[in-house]
Assembly symmetry: C2
Homo-oligomer: 460 residues x 2
Amino acid sequence: MPGSDLGLFTDLYELTMMQAYHEAGMHETAVFSLFVRRLPETRNFLLAAGMETLLEQLETLRFSRGDIDYLASLGHFDESFLGWLADLRFTGDVFAVPEGTPVFPNEPILEVVAPLPQAQLIETLVMNQIHLQTVLASKAARLALAAGKRPVVDFGARRMHGIDAAIKGARAYHLAGIAGTSNMLAGREYGVPVLGTMAHSFIQACEDETTAFRRYARRYPQTVLLVDTYDTLDGIERVIELAREMGDDFTVRAVRLDSGDLGELARQARARLDEAGLTEMEIIASGGLDEHEIKRLIDSGAPIDAFGVGTSMGVSQDAPDLDIAYKLAEYAGVGRLKLSSGKPILPGRKQVFRRSEDGIFCGDVIGRHDEDQPGEPLLRHVMAGGRRTFPEPDLDDLREQARDAMERLPEAVRRIEPADPPYPVEISEQLRRHQDEVRQAAIERESRHRGPDRDPGGTS
Amino acid sequence: MPGSDLGLFTDLYELTMMQAYHEAGMHETAVFSLFVRRLPETRNFLLAAGMETLLEQLETLRFSRGDIDYLASLGHFDESFLGWLADLRFTGDVFAVPEGTPVFPNEPILEVVAPLPQAQLIETLVMNQIHLQTVLASKAARLALAAGKRPVVDFGARRMHGIDAAIKGARAYHLAGIAGTSNMLAGREYGVPVLGTMAHSFIQACEDETTAFRRYARRYPQTVLLVDTYDTLDGIERVIELAREMGDDFTVRAVRLDSGDLGELARQARARLDEAGLTEMEIIASGGLDEHEIKRLIDSGAPIDAFGVGTSMGVSQDAPDLDIAYKLAEYAGVGRLKLSSGKPILPGRKQVFRRSEDGIFCGDVIGRHDEDQPGEPLLRHVMAGGRRTFPEPDLDDLREQARDAMERLPEAVRRIEPADPPYPVEISEQLRRHQDEVRQAAIERESRHRGPDRDPGGTS
């Protein structure tokens, strides 16, 4: 896998457009807005994530010698353009909401203000990275909300979409309220707490289950024993026997159930453990869990203390993608939009103002960046001239801010069932007027080539 | 993002189990089988992918000094184990079906035969990488089959799950029959053909649409012009005007439609282009397409020559994950399985035998690795002692083999609608007998600790 020279993580058309801009002298400042057009049906809010790792990538963005040689081999690019590209660094400004901010449709998560060719180049990287981490943080937030005070642990690395998704995902999950991850590389790269139990293979490879339990319990005092390899309740009995055998040396923290009727098995396991005096021993459940199943288990009173979640969170199974867009909103000081059907753009630089009542968020207004509106402005100036404006925040601090922000969402929005009505988001008068003006200007400009009888609003 | 020292791309429990194996002297040979338990409802077959990039990762697998330091900081691992880990290389054997082989439930895609701690360590990496690429290749195969002779191009990078997914996905797509990708890094890393058009932002940033078209058409002779920024049919008129203006210098290859009723717009665009004598100019459609929409457009006779596909393929929207498993099947020469409910394991080393009739695949038998069965054995010895047994095959050759294999699938299996009945897969007599023996041995071993009145088959 390539390292951090991510210049080439872009689409071919970004580079051909860049060359055309370069040759036409179109180096003036562009504003691109990153936003999600609409929420998936199963999301009441999104938790914005990925900005911090993106800023680091933008700071080190460049083309390696090998990248330039590869580009030269394609025949699309002139030597003078390639020479310019070899020296290119990102020198633009970025405005973004803090990681862990709940966001809603059409609200800019991030705006790039940079010379047009640069802002164009980074489209693929910006979208890919914010999309990935926002998809996964938004799903994880639902798991965390469903589990309440019970910890949820990420076991997903094996079925997440590649290495980048697995490690950045584990970070996004922790940001969103997940307790920790099994993923060691995420632990090393981002300081996410690493957690783990044991696998069926360990038990299968040992002479028998009791030998496997004994070996693990002696080696790892605070460990978790997996009890369903052969028969869950027999597994519980063996844990109890081992506790008797080891006496004070027995400090196993929990058992893990990974198959069968988890609620019923947890109840039976709890009863047997309690009867044997192992009242402190916790029960962890895993195996095909999602937020709905976790809520159902908790509502049914199942004595489960923590949850391990893999695939449903790992690929955000019910909503693996977002309708995310990165759109030119202004160039050379003039607002821009397109008129194609059904996909309106809010022109110019913008700000999101979030109002609260008694500490609870009660509605957002998307306005022009420099207008006065009540409420907290969400977008901050996080990069100036290609450099962060402040050091990378601590993940734990971001996590706390995210928790605080989610606690301030209206109760219906925090639920895993659809919120009806959805969280209110309005467009300010000023922005609406600016949008009308820009649209009118585009229509007038384009109508020089158009007959008078056509509807300029689109084709459908 | 980390480089190729992927030792730490693993779960914590793999490492704690490894240390326990290491200390107990459990270094004998293990067999792990990688397979998918069942197909998603919307898949008739899977296209196995990812083995070649995995073999490269296994050849270079190691722990860096920084990894070892990180592990030491966690307090779980002894110095002697960490010293052993620092020198560890993968020295095992791998048997795998060739990339681009159609596979079905329970068929081993890959088997690892290696010292137990090594085979355990690589679980996360093996699953993650084969899962990713098999998910994406299997989805792409459906797009390619739906589009028939019309090329499909991958525009997905911006909404795929991270950088690794985007570049390995583009490779998997090409393997599965996708013509090329917009993703430059995939072009450089894997030689996937790169293709591209232009974006709305280019047109918005220029003075007007005609100026944008003129600039691009002069700079890139065989280019594709995007016509829906303001009004699709007006865009077509401008392309026609530009063709008149430029005369013989006009060599634009195609127009791209990206919104609205693509079938109807394609028909109207075709009529206008033909009327203007631009009969060679192609029409490319993009914007929210999946295999069903492509089939519908083609069935309706829409004059579309090629398709650009992004998100639906990029995250395999209808089936973003597979129920993939990597399970211990043998240790120290003894078959292993677990008895937990509903997830049977086929013990020991296995082979898949694929029978044909008149060149069409008619059924598979999963047998023991050394038994005699009619049909072509699919699993090959691709790695011995941690080294590939043959050089990495050319992606084009794999692509041709994949196309040939897909053409040999029964017609109902190649359709995008569910095949009923599904492709037949049987377990051989010998393997069934072995499974019974291993299960019986496990029951007897475990029953030393179990009362006589319990059903050993599981808890549900």
